[in-house]
Amino acid sequence: MSRLGTLSAADRPLVIAFGFILVILAVGTVYTLSTTGTMPLLTPKYLLLQLQTGSFLGICAAGLMAVILIGHIDLSIPWTLTAAAMIGTAVGGPGAVPAALAVGLCVGLINGLGVAVLRIPSMIFTLGLDTVLRGLMVAQTGGYAPQDAATPLMLTLAKSSILGFPAALFVWAAVSVAVAFLLSRTTFGRALYAIGTRERAAYLSGMRTTRVIIGAFVLSGLCAALAGALLAGYSAKAYQGMGNAFLLPAIAAVVLGGTNVLGGRGRYAGTLIGVVLIVLLNSVLSIMQMPEALRQIIYGSVIIGMLLIYGRGDRVTS
């Protein structure tokens, strides 16, 4: 505890989250050793497989982080992802991935305008847009899984492997490098932190706050759309509700990675650790054949428990 005390406030969540990852791995390994006598969790092949499925979540979380940094939230991720995948596969051919990204761009623009110009609380506006997208997709497909198949590019990006590593990991890595660069080295990124800390001061410093807020939502929409295109490739097609399982984990990953829900604070490395934590938690729970019910309970409890621990640290330092 005394060592934790010497860490800077920004690093503490990262260290706690990282420690929790080790705990998850240890618990999972003890479990597999005691039941089957093996330890698959610690083999590179298994870990890579987990990270491959985790890359979709990782890409969503990267975009969501930009929105959370400005103190807002994007609840439209599930159906942005699904709509992008469905429209992408429906367009097909070489235009599939650009079409998917265009969906994300449009959703992001609408969200951004609603929040930055109309100044409607992001929670409400993005939730409403999520429902509209669901309605549009349900109406378009008749409520069934569309027949269109993923294009070869989607399949390649999601499923093939390069030099023994899954291609999806490379996509996630590319997105990560881009977002990390954006956050730390560009005026856009720094403006995100400024707006999230105190929008009033950022505005009075002559920052283009409206554009930056719209930009953050566009980034989130694009990331969700890219994740949708990849997930369609991974499953070989798009399907109803394919994005439902991404919202809570993405928010959890960003928040557990130490990003302040009220905005202004957070590092991309933390989000990465948060994603890995969620992915490993999921895989250990499935190794243990934990029923969905207990998974949900553990999920919620972990989020609350870790936030309580982070919060305690904050209060001690302040």
């Binding site: 100044r119 409607i120 939730l127 505005y203 019910a293 949900q296």
Partner: protein
């Protein structure tokens, strides 16, 4: 007098007018419009969403939000589907446990927000997951066993209620005749709303809920009990949500731990609050208004049936109604003269 009420409750008045127009038109278009059967059916389908809307309203009044209302309602329905049967005593006990479970869930949300200092969004999102998990534990498959008599009595008219339990001479008593065609669900809904909310509104703690949403700083300087009011708000939210769950279980005679449905209820609860005219930033509005908002949402969905609109369009319309309602209220943004006021 009426003029002043209108000025202070413009959103509520618009909601009532909109509902009246929608509902009367609906009955005019319906082949069996204005009949008791249609009214009973409509009332039954509105109770759960009505309670969830009421649940959402209380935190919103103080500028908060509860994303767990749908999940808590689902959990309560699953508990009720297991416990509300057997002898009269067992039924009452089962209903009590159901309501207690939801209320404690809300209380826990309040503690997390006030003493855990976790943002309401994240805290209720996480406790919502826990509630769904518990619901799945209790009821892994949809189904259940709820007392049939109770189900019949509570989902029909006053006459059926009296008939089922042999009260008031089996519903034939003369004094009962003016009321026999009123659906029991309507009485339950408005009864609980008025019996619980109106008294609470008239306590210092209840008034503090409004004060927090209006001007938290001034509320603090004036010595109002801020923490107590916040905990009360989330507790009430849990209580109303569990009322909705209990009724849903009685109505369908089963429980279903359906995550998607829980999410839809949460969304609709927010839409109902907005439609009822409660300000999203808190301070003004009320539980009864949201109840009317929920009724509007439901009537819109009834139109799908009589107009033969593809039910697949329902989510689209729901979303558009919500977006239209919130954008409608955003006009104020453009009349602000000092742009610094845009940043709260």
């Amino acid at each position: 007098m009426i003029g002043r009420w209108l000025a202070g409750n413009r959103g509520f008045a618009v909601a009532i007018a909109l509902f009246a127009v929608l509902f009367v038109t609906y009955n005019l278009m319906h082949t069996r419009g204005f009949s008791t059967a249609v009214l009973v059916q409509n009332a039954n389908e509105s109770v759960a969403i009505g309670f969830v809307a009421m649940a959402q309203t209380v935190p919103v009044l103080m500028g908060g939000l509860d994303l767990s209302v749908g999940a808590v309602m689902t959990l309560s329905a699953c508990i009720a589907s297991v416990m509300v049967n057997g002898t009269m005593g067992e039924i009452v006990f089962g209903a009590f446990v159901t309501l207690l479970a939801g209320t404690s869930f809300g209380f826990m949300n309040g503690l997390l927000v006030v003493y855990g200092r976790i943002q309401a969004i994240i805290a209720t999102l996480a406790t919502g997951a826990i509630a769904i998990g518990l619901a799945l534990l209790i009821r892994p498959e949809p189904g259940g066993d709820v007392d049939g008599d109770l189900g019949w009595a509570l989902t029909n008219t006053v006459w059926d209620f009296a008939d089922t339990y042999g009260l008031a001479q089996g519903g034939e008593a003369a004094w009962l005749q003016p009321f026999i065609n009123i659906p029991v669900p309507l009485i339950l809904q408005f009864g609980i709303a008025c019996l619980v909310w109106l008294p609470i509104k008239r306590t210092v703690t209840g008034m503090t809920i409004y004060a927090i949403g209006s001007a938290e700083g001034a509320a603090f300087v004036s010595g109002l009990p801020i923490n107590r009011a916040k905990i009360l708000a989330y507790t009430l939210s849990g209580f109303f949500a569990s009322c909705g769950g209990l009724y849903l279980a009685i109505q369908t005679s089963s429980g279903n731990a359906d995550m998607v449905q829980a999410g839809a209820y949460t969304l609709n609860s927010i839409a109902a609050v907005v439609l009822g005219g409660t300000a999203l930033l808190g301070g003004s509005g009320g539980v009864i208004a949201s109840l009317v908002g929920a009724l509007i949402l439901r009537v819109i969905s009834f139109y799908f049936r009589i107009l033969d609109i593809d039910p697949l369009l329902q989510p689209l319309i729901e979303g558009l109604v919500l977006l239209a309602a919130v954008s409608f209220g955003a006009g104020r943004t453009f009349s602000i003269r000092n742009r610094l006021e845009l940043f709260r």
